[in-house]
C-alpha cells in the first residue's frame, strides 16, 4: 500500500463523514430537532395534503413580500 492510497482513503472517508456532520449541524441550527416527538410524527402523518399545506404557507409568505413591494414600502 502506498502512502498516496492512504492519504486518499483518509481524506475521502473523512470528507464524506464531514458532509454528514455539516448536514446535521445545519439541521440543529435551523431548529429541525427542537421538538423530537414532532420530528417523529412528521413521518407518521406525512401525506400529500400536508405537502400542499406547506406549499400554501410558502405561497402566503411570497404573496406578502410581493404585496409589500407593490405598495412601494421602503425595504426596511
Amino acid at each position: 500500500m502506498s502512502e498516496n492510497i492512504m492519504i486518499l482513503m483518509l481524506s475521502v472517508s473523512t470528507f464524506l463523514g464531514a458532509l454528514g456532520l455539516i448536514a446535521l449541524l445545519w439541521g440543529v441550527k435551523s431548529g429541525q430537532f427542537d421538538d423530537h416527538s414532532k420530528f417523529l410524527d412528521a413521518a407518521r402523518y406525512d401525506n400529500e395534503e400536508d405537502l400542499r399545506d406547506a406549499a400554501m404557507m410558502e405561497e402566503k409568505k411570497k404573496a406578502r413580500k410581493k404585496q409589500k413591494k407593490e405598495k412601494g414600502m421602503p425595504p426596511d
Binding site: 440543529v28 441550527k29 427542537d34 421538538d35 414532532k38 404557507m57 402566503k60 409568505k61 426596511d76
Partner: protein
C-alpha cells in the same frame, strides 16, 4: 348504565346524560355543547381526519368560551408580548392549553395555517409552546386566539425573553459542539488504533506522518470549537483569580495539543491528539447534561407565569374599561371579578369576598374581607365581585416588590459552589508549577531546551487529563440522573456538593410538611344524609373547603351522581345554598348555620363544614391541613444524618407547634412575614450554618433565594420554583431525605475520585518529572485511571436508600 365516549373528546359518560344527535345513519353522542360545536366545525372545515389521528386518546371537553378576547388587542398587552419584525410582521409566543397528543398539535397547526394572515405557526409538542407569525393588516391577535379557542383549546402568552430563549440557545450551541467533538473523536480513535498497532509492531515514518497529520486536522476543531467553552470558563476563572477545573482541562488539552504538533513536526516521540479530543468531548457531554436539566425547570416555570393578568378593569365615572396594569395609579377604582388574581394593592370600597392568600401567607384557608380592608396583590378573589381603590401603582405593589427583591437576591446568591472546585483548582495550580519547575530544572542542569520542554509538557499531559477532569462530572452526572429518576431535579450539578455539606434544614410548614389543602379529618352523618346531594352542592364551588369535601366524598362513596341543582347561590365567606326538587340545601360554616337559625354549635380547633337539608342538620365535617405521609420518618432520618431541622411558618404559633410536635421538630419560628423568613436564613448563615430551605409559596421565595440550597415543591408557586435549586416533583418529604442521601453519597464519590487521581498523580508525576515516562505507559495509565474513576462513579447507583 352503559358508558359511551363523547364523539369529540372521547371521555366516557352515561348515555342518558349525553347530548345525542342523528347524523345520517350514525348516532353521535356529545358530553357537552362545547364538544358538539367543535365537532361540527371540524366536519365543516374538512378536518375530520383529526379523529383518525386521535385514536382513543381522551381530550378535555371543549369549554364554552370566556369573554376576554378584547384584552389581546390592548396596547399594554402588545407591548409586553408581541415582537414586531422589520417587515411589519408580528410574532407572539403562546402556550396552548389542552394539548394531549400529536393529533392535537396537528389540528392546531392545520387550522392556523388555513387562517388568512397567519404566516407561520409552529407548535412544540413536548412543552405546548407555539410561535405564531402573522400580518397585522389582515388579522388581529384576538381573532387568532378566538380561532384556537373555537376548536376547544386555549392559548395564553408568555414572554420567551425571560429565560427560554437563552436556554434554547445554549442548548443548541452545546449540541453543535458535542456533535463536532463526537464526530472528530470517533475518527481520531480509529486512526489512533493504527498508531497503537504501529507503535508495537513498528511503522514507517512516512505512514506515521500521514496518520499524525490526519489526527491533527481532526483534533483542531475539537479543541478550538468544542473546547471553546473551557477556554472561556478558564478566562472567567482567571478574571476572578481562580484556577478552576475549566483551566485545568483547557491548559492540559492545549499543552498536549502544542506538544503533539511539536512531536509531529520534529518527528520526535508520540502524538496525543486522541487524548485532546477525548477529554474535551467527555467533559463537554457532562456539562451538556447539566444544561438539559436546567432547561426542564424553565419549561414548567413559563407555563405557570403566563397566567398573571396584564390588565385590570378600571371604573372611571361609572364607565368600565380594561387598562394595562402599568397605567394604573394610586386612587384609581378597580373592579375585581370572582376568580381573578389581584395585581395591585388596594382598599375595598364596596363589596365583600373571600380571598385566597395562600401565595402570600402560605395558608390555604381563605380570608374574608369587607369594605375598608386592605387587599394584597398576589391573592385571588374567590367568590364575589367587588370594587377597590388602588393604594399603590403596579410597580410598588407587593407582588412586584417581591419579584424585584428576588431578582436582586438571585444575582447575589451566596456562591458556595465556588468552593467546589477548590481541590482541583489548587491541584491544577500545583501541577502547572511543577511543570514549570521541571522545565527550569532540566534546562539549567541538563542544558538542553528541547528535552526540558518535552519532559515538562509530559508532566502536564500525564497528570491532568482524564481522571481528574472526569472525577467531578462523572459522579455528579450519575448522582443527578439517579435523583431525577426519583423525581428530584437538581438544576445544577454543583448543588449536589453544596447540599452534601449542608448542616441545617429549614422547612416551611404549609405545603411542605403538610399537604397545603384542607382535607376531612372527622365526619359525622346524621339521619337524612344523602352524599349525592352534598356532592352536587360542593361541586358548584371551587373553594378549598368545598374541594376538600368533594375529594372526601369521592374517596368514601363508590357511586356518586351529580344532580341538577337550581338557584345556586354562594354566600361570601359563609357557604353555598341551592334548591333541589323543592328542598333547600345549605352547606357552610358555623356562622352560616347560625344566620339561618340552625342549631349546630360545635367546638373544634379544625375548620368546620355543616350540611343542612331543609334547615335540618344532616352532616358535620371537620377539616384540617393534614401532615404529609411519612413526614415524621423522613425528618427523623434527616436528623440522624446530623442535620439540624427547624420550621419556619407564617401560621400562628399554636397550629405550628401542633404540626412540629407531630413530625418531631423542636425548633420553630411562627408568625413570620416573607422578609422575616429571609432574615432568619441570614441569621443562620451568620452562625456558620450552610442552609437548605424547603418551601412552596411566594411567601417562601425570599428565604429560598437567600438559602444556599433552595428546595421547591413541584406544584408550588411559579416564582418559588424559579429561585429554587432543587425541585421535588412528587412532593414527598422523604424526597428531601433522598436528596440529602444522594448528594452525600455523590460527594463521597467525588472525594474518592479526587483522592484516587491525586494518588495516581503522586506516583506518575515524579516518574514524569524524572524523565522516565514511556509514551505507551502514559497512554495506558491515562485510560486506566479514567476507567477507575468512571467505575467508581457508577457505584453510586448501587447505594441503598432507606425504604418507607
Amino acid at each position: 348504565m352503559a358508558k359511551i365516549p363523547c364523539a369529540h373528546c372521547n371521555l366516557k359518560f352515561d348515555e342518558k346524560m349525553m347530548i345525542t344527535e342523528q347524523d345520517g345513519e350514525k348516532t353521535l353522542h356529545f358530553c357537552c355543547k362545547g364538544c358538539q360545536g367543535v365537532y361540527h366545525l371540524l366536519q365543516k372545515e374538512g378536518l375530520d381526519s383529526f379523529y383518525e389521528k386521535l385514536g382513543s386518546t381522551a381530550l378535555q371537553p371543549a369549554e364554552n368560551q370566556t369573554d376576554d378576547l378584547e384584552k389581546f388587542d390592548l396596547e399594554g398587552f402588545a407591548k409586553k408580548y408581541i415582537t414586531i419584525h422589520e417587515d411589519g410582521i408580528n410574532e407572539i409566543n403562546l402556550i396552548i392549553e389542552g394539548i394531549h397528543c400529536s393529533a392535537c398539535v396537528w389540528l392546531n397547526e392545520k387550522v392556523l395555517h388555513k387562517t388568512d394572515g397567519i404566516i407561520e405557526a409552529v407548535i412544540n409538542y413536548s412543552n405546548h409552546k407555539a410561535k405564531i407569525l402573522w400580518d397585522p393588516d389582515i388579522i388581529k391577535l384576538s381573532q387568532i386566539i378566538h380561532t384556537i379557542r373555537s376548536i376547544g383549546y386555549n392559548a395564553y402568552p408568555y414572554d420567551p425573553k425571560l429565560q427560554e430563549e437563552r436556554a434554547v440557545k445554549t442548548r443548541k450551541a452545546y449540541y453543535s459542539r458535542i456533535l463536532v467533538g463526537v464526530f472528530s473523536t470517533m475518527n481520531i480513535m480509529w486512526i489512533a488504533i493504527a498508531q497503537y498497532a504501529g507503535y508495537s509492531t513498528g511503522i514507517e515514518q512516512g505512514f506515521k506522518d500521514i496518520l499524525n497529520f490526519a489526527e491533527f486536522l481532526l483534533a483542531t476543531p475539537v479543541l478550538f470549537y468544542s473546547g471553546w467553552i473551557f477556554f472561556r470558563g478558564a478566562y472567567y476563572g482567571y478574571k476572578n483569580r481562580m484556577v478552576n477545573m475549566d483551566a485545568l482541562v483547557a491548559s492540559g488539552a492545549l499543552l498536549a495539543y502544542i506538544y503533539s504538533i511539536y512531536a509531529m513536526t520534529t518527528r520526535t516521540g508520540e502524538v496525543y491528539f486522541d487524548s485532546v479530543a477525548m477529554i474535551i468531548t467527555f467533559v463537554l457531554v457532562g456539562k451538556y447534561l447539566e444544561v438539559l436539566s436546567k432547561k426542564q425547570a424553565v419549561d414548567t416555570l413559563d407555563t405557570l407565569m403566563g397566567s398573571t393578568p396584564t390588565e385590570v378593569t378600571l371604573v372611571k365615572e361609572g364607565v368600565k374599561s380594561l387598562v394595562s396594569v402599568e397605567n394604573v395609579v394610586a386612587g384609581d377604582l378597580i373592579e375585581l371579578k370572582p376568580g381573578e388574581k389581584v395585581v395591585i394593592d388596594g382598599v375595598i370600597t364596596s363589596g365583600q369576598a373571600s380571598f385566597d392568600e395562600s401565595s402570600l401567607s402560605g395558608e390555604s384557608e381563605p380570608v374574608y374581607k369587607k369594605e375598608g380592608e386592605d387587599i394584597l396583590s398576589g391573592s385571588i378573589c374567590l367568590d364575589a365581585a367587588l370594587r377597590y381603590e388602588a393604594t399603590k401603582d403596579a410597580s410598588h405593589s407587593l407582588l412586584h416588590s417581591i419579584v424585584k427583591l428576588l431578582e436582586e437576591s438571585i444575582t447575589k446568591k451566596p456562591k458556595i459552589e465556588q468552593l467546589a472546585n477548590e481541590i482541583s483548582g489548587y491541584f491544577s495550580g500545583v501541577i502547572l508549577l511543577i511543570a514549570l519547575g521541571t522545565f527550569a530544572g532540566w534546562y539549567l542542569y541538563g542544558g538542553e531546551f528541547e528535552q526540558a520542554l518535552i519532559i515538562s509538557i509530559s508532566v502536564i499531559v500525564i497528570a491532568c487529563p482524564c481522571a481528574l477532569g472526569l472525577a467531578t462530572p462523572m459522579s455528579t452526572l450519575v448522582g443527578i440522573s439517579m435523583a431525577a429518576k426519583r423525581g428530584i431535579l437538581f438544576k445544577e450539578a454543583t448543588f449536589l456538593e453544596t447540599m452534601a455539606k449542608s448542616n441545617l434544614l429549614a422547612l416551611d410548614k404549609t405545603g411542605t410538611i403538610t399537604e397545603g389543602k384542607p382535607s376531612v379529618v372527622n365526619a359525622e352523618m346524621f339521619e337524612g344524609f344523602d352524599p349525592d346531594l352534598l356532592y352536587s352542592l360542593v361541586r358548584t364551588s371551587n373553594h378549598p373547603i368545598s374541594q376538600g369535601i368533594a375529594a372526601y366524598l369521592e374517596a368514601s362513596c363508590e357511586t356518586l351522581r351529580e344532580l341538577p341543582l337550581e338557584k345556586i347561590k354562594s354566600i361570601e365567606a359563609k357557604g353555598i345554598q341551592a334548591l333541589y326538587q323543592g328542598s333547600m340545601l345549605r352547606g357552610g360554616n358555623l356562622m352560616f348555620m347560625q344566620n339561618v337559625q340552625i342549631n349546630a354549635a360545635y367546638e373544634s380547633r379544625h375548620s368546620l363544614f355543616f350540611f343542612a337539608i331543609n334547615d335540618v342538620l344532616v352532616a358535620r365535617f371537620e377539616l384540617s391541613d393534614t401532615i404529609r405521609e411519612n413526614a415524621a420518618k423522613a425528618i427523623e432520618q434527616i436528623k440522624a444524618m446530623g442535620i439540624k431541622v427547624v420550621m419556619l411558618t407564617g401560621d400562628h404559633e399554636r397550629s405550628a407547634r401542633h404540626v412540629a410536635k407531630a413530625v418531631g421538630i423542636d425548633e420553630i419560628y411562627a408568625k413570620l412575614l416573607p422578609t422575616d423568613k429571609a432574615d432568619l436564613i441570614d441569621l443562620f448563615h451568620q452562625k456558620g450554618h450552610i442552609v437548605v430551605m424547603a418551601g412552596d409559596g411566594i411567601n417562601d421565595t425570599l428565604a429560598l433565594s437567600k438559602a444556599d440550597i433552595a428546595i421547591a415543591m413541584g406544584s408550588g408557586a411559579d416564582i418559588a420554583i424559579g429561585v429554587s435549586d432543587v425541585v421535588l416533583m412528587d412532593e414527598k418529604p422523604q424526597s428531601i431525605y433522598e436528596a440529602y442521601a444522594i448528594s452525600r453519597r455523590t460527594f463521597r464519590a467525588v472525594k474518592e475520585n479526587l483522592a484516587f487521581s491525586l494518588l495516581y498523580n503522586a506516583v506518575a508525576v515524579p516518574l514524569a518529572v524524572t524523565g522516565f515516562v514511556n509514551p505507551l505507559v502514559a497512554a495506558l495509565s491515562m485510560s486506566l485511571s479514567s476507567l477507575v474513576v468512571v467505575g467508581n462513579s457508577v457505584r453510586i447507583k448501587m447505594m441503598k436508600l432507606k425504604g418507607f
